[in-house]
Symmetry: C2
Subunit: 253 residues, 2 copies
């Protein structure tokens, strides 16, 4: 059974300060936890309500097989920790220390840079799209929402743990890093070269800006690419725009 | 100043039953209301907090120019009506009676069918993408979330009012309608013809299924199309998948 101290610690993880301090976050629900297990996330413990233990023998079997420890929690304590209204009665405590970095030697050839994304649902959805297309490194500017926010993790559907590294840094250091490593850098914008006409090398970085303001002026020296539309509405949602652009860059057919 | 009865009516619109009964919904924030005005939404009245009236002369000027009535509301009353925590101090009451229909004679050549989408954020985001690509008719199965849900309207960013018609019907009638009108019908699926290889007529309908279960078996006789990925993660978010597929169908280059 879970201890009072552990409940207190896990309940605090809704707040970024305590996630940073403890290098922990919470996963909720079977599918998300199973995806994280598939990607070898550092799961410290899984906590299940009594009903959940009984009703999901395959899940328990998998935990045993993977040597992941689990324990009981009552519904009331789970509610204190959970960020959702309708819990499935299962949460996992995960160590996130290996994912976040400032600098990185081993970054992938295709890089997604997210500049000031503020909605955790959008950020998680973009991570999910990156995983779909096999993009393993993501760079976030300091003013981007915390990727280990519960809502971001939910919308990521396990993609966080597919990513090898989430680089978080200031804009100037990111620009230096992109130039030093000879990335073919592009910004998504409302004006620019049509994405279908872009000829890239295999070593590219694509920057997506915030929901309200787009890519910040600091990145203004890089080439701009755009998604043709009917101009009937101001813009596309940023996670949709990221999907369309990454599809065109990765699936070159 | 707003009456007590009006506050009661507008506060009730958070619930679908009262939106349906009164054929009204609420828009919140300047950008959304301005977009709705651009698309000639039937705005009955705009309600502003005293601070909002003083700080946005251009917005007020536009309301006067477009002959849209507006009135004061205090912050406390606005909070009762609003669905957001951080209001900009402005809401609009909109008549939605002309948007929803069961059958439709004048539907567009390109049609998006949404089968059981349950997340209002996803539904609104797909509407926004439809507007971006000039798709004017959307068909929803009965079990899809209500498009005039406040959250759906927020994520639609005004796209609801760009759409000429939102058709809501049961699956059998939708299938009959698609066949009777000779649409070239396709379902988005995890398996199928690669979307880039699909050759469509200019008269197509594209079906997207629910977040949890995909397109329902009722639509199983139609062709399936898919977005190639690295199979590293189960699926893409449905609004991202819709963006990628619509981009390939509309922007044929």
């Amino acid at each position: 059974m879970i201890s009072k101290n552990r409940i207190k610690l896990l309940s605090s993880l809704k707040v970024k300060k305590y996630r940073d301090k403890n290098q922990l976050t919470i996963l909720e629900g079977y599918r998300l936890i199973e995806q994280a297990i598939n990607f070898n996330a550092d799961i410290i413990n899984v906590w299940l309500c009594p009903e959940a233990i009984d009703s999901n023998p395959m899940f328990i079997k998998n935990l045993n097989f993977k040597n992941i420890s689990y324990d009981l929690i009552n519904n009331e304590d789970l509610k204190k920790i959970s960020g959702t209204e309708h819990s499935q009665g299962v949460i996992a405590e995960v160590d996130i220390s290996k994912y976040i970095t400032k600098v990185n030697d081993k970054v992938s050839d295709n890089l997604v840079v997210l500049d000031g994304i503020s909605d955790p649902g959008n950020l998680g959805t973009i991570f999910r799209t990156c995983a779909w297309y096999g993009i393993k490194s993501v760079v976030l500017t300091n003013n981007t929402v915390d990727p280990f926010n519960f809502k971001c993790i939910r919308s990521g559907m396990g993609a966080h743990f597919y990513l090898q590294k989430i680089i978080i840094n200031n804009t100037q250091d990111i620009i230096k890093f992109l130039k030093d490593n000879d990335y073919d850098v592009m910004c998504a914008d409302l004006k620019g070269i049509k994405i279908s006409e872009v000829k890239t090398s295999s070593h590219w970085a694509m920057i997506f800006g915030s929901e309200a303001h787009g890519v910040s002026l600091d990145f203004d020296t890089f080439n701009k690419v755009t998604i043709p539309g009917k101009q009937s509405i101001e813009s596309l949602n940023v996670s949709v725009a990221a999907g369309i652009i990454l599809d065109r860059l990765v699936n070159k057919y």
